[in-house]
């Protein structure tokens, strides 16, 4: 199965969710900011990469985990995915998309804006990571629901 965690730019919330899913971040405690900052692809994607689903890893059950920035076009992109799958007879249940953006708080949005849009990477990254730390339990809940559904 393919799991696509998506958000606006595939820089923060989707990457965090994918990292939790794959065990790169703890599920039994809230991580430190340093741990969040160190996860692969955190606050790294550029505007030009929005739209591209990128492979993050495979979980212990062999499910492939992707992150994708949808640039605010969630409805269009998800419908496109459905249309492509329908056209090539790919079963709908072989892909699930998970909206990580719904879980973010204002700090993540501000941090992401500062870093990705304004180029103020150091403060932006810190604020985004802090915001994700504050809302970490929501992401844990989402990921555990996804894992339960796909097992």
């Amino acid at each position: 199965m393919i799991v696509i965690y998506h958000c606006y730019g595939a820089a923060h919330s989707s990457v965090l969710s994918a990292a939790i899913h794959l065990g790169y971040l703890p599920e039994d405690r809230i991580p430190k900011i340093e741990e969040i900052l160190k996860i692969q692809y955190f606050d790294r994607s550029s505007t030009g990469e929005i739209g591209i689903p990128f492979y993050y890893g495979s979980d212990s059950s062999g499910n492939m985990i992707y992150c994708q920035g949808m640039g605010g076009l969630d409805g269009v992109i998800k419908q496109l995915l459905k249309d492509v799958m329908g056209e090539y007879n790919i079963p709908e249940e072989s892909v699930i998309t998970v909206n990580s953006l719904k879980k973010v708080n204002i700090l993540v949005r501000i941090g992401g804006f500062l870093s990705r849009k304004l180029g103020l990477i150091f403060p932006g990254r810190l604020i985004a990571a802090f915001g994700l730390k504050l809302g970490y339990r929501r992401f844990l809940k989402t990921v555990s629901t996804v894992k339960m559904n796909i097992s």
Binding site: I2, G48, I50, G51, I52, P53, Y66, Q68, M70, G71, G72, L73, V76, I77, Q79, L80, L81, D83, V84, M85, E87, Y88, I90
Partner: protein, 153 residues
């Protein structure tokens, strides 16, 4: 060898159908003939809520698969997503993208707005006007898109 042609545009209006009939018709049709055929096709497909629409019943299709990709205004994001979704599923299709946004002039945009506002007749009037301009431009310039269909004619 190219097997698929995808026409991409901002919104699903009569433009892609008009362009399709104009470009693919074997005989040189009058504006009214092209418009009538395009309108018939548009009325058939206009309720589809898809982003990628397969055009299966176009009789002038010489064996190529034809699609419309209704991508909205953020062109790059949707086209990237499309390209990488094909890669994701290991779909290796040789396709060509034809950008119709070059022809989406203000008449078409206004027609879209009028249609959303519920003024369907006015919307069709504007669309017909836009199509007539496209027809004149196409016939005058004798512009042919770079697609394999024309190499075999």
């Amino acid at each position: 060898m190219i097997e698929i042609i995808i026409f991409h545009c901002n919104s699903l209006n009569i433009l892609p159908f008009f362009y399709l009939v104009l470009v693919f018709s074997k005989n040189e049709l009058s504006f009214q003939e092209v418009y009538k055929e395009a309108l018939k096709m548009y009325m058939k497909y206009c309720r589809e809520k898809k982003v990628l629409i397969s055009i299966r019943d176009f009789i002038e299709n010489p064996g190529l698969k034809l699609y419309f990709l209704i991508r909205g205004r953020k062109k790059r994001i949707v086209l990237q997503a499309f390209k990488y979704y094909l890669r994701l599923f290991n779909i290796r299709e040789d396709y060509q993208l034809i950008d119709l946004s070059l022809y989406e002039n203000s008449y078409f945009l206004l027609a879209d707005i009028m249609a959303k506002a519920g003024l369907k007749q006015f919307s069709l009037f504007l669309a017909e006007r836009a199509c007539s301009k496209l027809y004149e431009y196409y016939r005058e310039k004798e512009e042919r898109p770079e697609i394999p269909f024309f190499k075999n004619r």
